[in-house]
Point group: C2
Chain length 222, copies 2
DNA sequence: GATAACATTTAGGGCAGCCTAAAAATATAT
DNA sequence: ATATATTTTTAGGCTGCCCTAAATGTTATC
């Protein structure tokens, strides 16, 4: 069965919002914000998706993906991340230039294509933003990284990913000299505004606002 | 200005049908057949395309592309052929497997992407079916090849392309051992049914029906 | 030139996906 | 517990793109 680009985008949005929302269903308002449309339009579509057994939906109670819907959502995410990797690795795009193009490419229908593409780019396990790429069965190789802002301690960290993909944020990271795989040493925590003084790769001293720190995903190095 | 996938497909269809139709505009019926929909739907869309100045349209008189419409059509064809070449050259698809996927990829919007892709695959001038790939300015490098069926003489020919891209036709050519660049010597012309007895690459003897010969594009070797 | 055959357009309608405004349900505050 | 604020749904409507059936224009035939 084939689904429209719009339907696929709803599934992806539900999947991505659920990751934060611990457990509970995703709200209509939340979705309309993510999808840049109105709440009434979302309600409309949720009914259609429920009929197609892609989501479980009860009026006023929010929405969760069925296993069928989740499989589809993961497949779209897989395609998005593989295309992003292709664009950066093979066509030399920068990591802040690929998101919009991948938003289009993720809807191309062909399993054969995506599997060959994966092989062509060397079966990467993470995309250019450090996000894990699920395999063709939908399995993630996951690292339990967290936002830097959730560690309230000095120490040495490894940058494994980012949770914000906007051009302006990615360009900011590039401008402070930061990329996936870099080390970040937290030298000072400012309790007043929750900002950070850090050293990147042992020599580059920078300040991160809490907002920046909340979108930087790290693991603590022992 | 952005156009819908449907609008792009209409422009492409008008462009491709015009190539045969010597001079005159393309008919509504003809288009509905190409686009697999009904004539009434075509009339509907032609009005919209005319308002957007992509075509010149007069009721009952058929349709021609404006220069704006033609530029767009050529761009879509350029993208289609570059993606087909990518799929065959980089992802090892066979020439009969790429058409449907390229029908989707041709609608991806990004000039930067298509130019980088072109460079990545080595600036090819012909796609896997022998069709010329227009450059980023819309210029074709054209060879004046014609269907084999239009030469009414024995002689030596070079296969430069095909005018039918269906899986079944391409697989037929593959099965008789024929690919772009092969030589075809016409040994006999059968006046009764306009079929051909030929020798491929100097050793492989085959028979072509007129239908097959009409979709094989060749140049006469001197 | 009339008539038949064919091509094209109009009229009216359906569905997907969006909208606004108003109503209903739920959550929050007092 | 009631009043208020917020979220969500319903009702009704719009546009893009498709359809069928009927009307109209064009072309071919005698």
């Amino acid at each position: 069965m084939q689904f429209s680009v719009t339907e696929e985008n709803y599934l992806k949005a539900i999947y991505m919002l659920r990751e934060n929302n611990d457990g509970g269903g995703v709200g209509t308002n939340e979705l309309s914000q993510q999808l840049q449309n109105k709440a009434a339009s979302v309600t409309d579509m949720l009914k259609r998706l429920a009929e197609k057994k892609l989501i479980n939906y009860q009026k006023y109670k929010g929405v969760v993906l069925t296993s069928r819907g989740e499989k589809l959502a993961i497949k779209i995410i897989r395609k998005h991340r593989l295309w992003e990797t292709f664009l950066v690795e093979k066509l030399s795009f920068k990591w802040d230039e690929v998101h919009e193009i991948a938003e289009q490419l993720e809807h191309i229908q062909s399993d054969e294509l995506i599997n060959r593409l994966e092989n062509f780019i060397g079966n990467p396990r993470f995309d250019p933003h450090g996000d894990p790429i699920p395999d063709s069965k939908g399995q993630f190789n996951f690292l339990k990284s967290k936002p830097l802002s959730q560690f309230n301690q000095k120490g040495n960290y490894l940058l494994t990913g980012v949770s914000e993909h906007s051009k302006s944020f990615l360009q900011h990271l590039t401008s402070v000299g930061l990329k996936i795989g870099d080390s970040i040493k937290v030298d000072e925590l400012n309790a007043f505004d929750n900002s950070y003084k850090v050293t990147i790769n042992k020599k580059n001293i920078q300040f991160f606002s809490n907002k920046v720190a909340s979108h930087i995903l790290v693991v603590l190095k022992k």
